[in-house]
């Protein structure tokens, strides 16, 4: 690598960060929209919430990763506000340290906002991944002496799984669903998990799945949060302008390399054709 290209390789990330910051500051977001044109995922979530009885109990598996939480954070907050606004009681349980750290932060945040503390039950942290999931399922089925069941007023009507890379909706489908008859699961996951979870949504094992910021934005646009609107920052989603700039950079960088590779393949094929 020449000195010049080494310098360019070193400065490229700085230029990218600068371009993203410029896109954030350009004030274009009012004219752009992040919402996906296909709002099927958002409608499925709303339908799952509509199907709950009045004063429902929702078990929230809160296990996002610290690293990827930023992607789903606005949607998670809107979902929690939506459920609280519908009068549901939320029982939050975490099975990963990251999930517990973020659950505590979100509970503290809700405590500072207008959420009714009687609608929030902190079920704490259980280690052991699959063993913990099975313990949760057994606790729900079991008697009132179980630590999980003792804190819940009734068996849950719905599970909302806020998942991450370590533990998420797939584990809930494999370990909890077979043990609790008819428990619908709504999943919120970072985009990177979307292809893995899509088969579970298609098979009906997940009642609904929000797996991209665009689906999240479509859901937030539909959700009626009433007085809890203030729990959700209206400008919380990622900036569409910055996303477009970043995607164009990625498409440009990969497209240029891909084009060069295709051109090289074609050049290599040509002499053989002539011969």
């Amino acid at each position: 690598m020449s000195e010049r290209s080494a310098l360019a390789a070193r400065l490229a990330p700085l230029l990218l960060v600068g371009a993203l910051a410029a896109a954030l500051l350009a004030g274009l977001d009012d004219r752009l929209t992040l919402e996906s044109a296909d709002d099927g995922a958002a409608r499925a979530v709303t339908a799952a919430f509509d199907a709950m009885p009045d004063d429902a109990l929702v078990l929230v598996g809160f296990d996002p990763d610290v690293g990827t939480y930023a992607e789903i954070r606005p949607t998670v907050r809107a979902v929690l506000a939506d459920l609280l606004n519908r009068g549901a009681t939320l029982g939050l349980v975490s099975l990963t340290p990251d999930g517990r750290a973020l659950a505590i932060a979100e509970l503290a945040r809700m405590d500072r906002s207008e959420a009714n503390p009687r609608q929030l039950i902190d079920l704490g942290f259980l280690p052991g991944a699959e063993a913990a999931l099975v313990a949760v399922a057994r606790g729900i089925n079991g008697g009132s002496q179980d630590p999980i069941r003792a804190d819940l007023p009734s068996p849950p009507d719905l599970a909302v799984v806020i998942g991450g890379i370590d533990l998420g909706a797939r584990s809930w489908v494999e370990q909890v669903q077979p043990r609790i008859d008819g428990l619908p699961i709504v999943a919120i996951a970072p985009t990177v998990l979307l292809p893995e979870l899509e088969p579970y949504r298609a098979s009906g094992q997940l009642a609904a799945l929000i797996g991209t910021p665009r689906d999240g934005a479509a859901y937030r646009a539909q959700a009626e949060l009433g007085r809890l609107e203030r729990m959700v920052d209206p400008a919380a989603g990622p900036s569409p302008a910055a996303i477009i700039v970043g995607l164009l950079v990625a498409i440009g960088v990969l497209g240029q390399a891909f084009g060069s590779r295709l051109a090289a393949v074609m050049r290599a094929a040509r002499p053989r054709d002539v011969a």
């Binding site: 996906s36 044109a37 296909d38 298609a202 498409i251």
Partner: protein, 205 residues
Amino acid sequence: MKRATIPALVVVVGVLVLADLLLVNDSLSELAGVAIDAAILVAAGAALAAVASLAVRRARDLWRRRGDPIGAALVLAGMAAMLIAGLRPGAAGATDPAVGWLVAALLIPIGATLFGLLFVTTLAASRRSLASRSREATVLVGAALVVLLMLLPIGGVVGERLSDAAGWALAVPIGAVFRGMLIGVAILAAVFAARTLLGVGATDE
């Protein structure tokens, strides 16, 4: 304790837990519950073991001035800060505001930025993989390019078409590929788990 006792314990615990999933029996359920509670306690103990092991290793590095002493000191400082914040007299454990402060001010920003950084490194790695001139890399990056194009959040008719295409691509071709992989992973996981439970090792074949 003989060497065979440990595999036997694996089999007993595993079969017990598996039988509890398949059969409805109160006594069995109670026994399986004991095994599951034990697994949770073991996980808690193992977490302490991992932390203690890391602390001992880093303290030894620091003491012998081996490797990066500042790095070792920072590992120990991070651990100590968290434990003091949550365990000092009068603290509320993990829900203590001091712990929350450390999480919000340091844990989340460092972790989240690290993942953000991966955008640049993954992009660079994808580009480098094309330079290797392998056909596999060309297919891999070509498919990634198509998905990136479909995810562009632009408005108008083009945006709608891209959004529809993204939904279709996820539900049909990508969904079908991942369904095949999930079934494959499930088969392999089930076979491996069954071999473990039955105590079948490579030497038994």
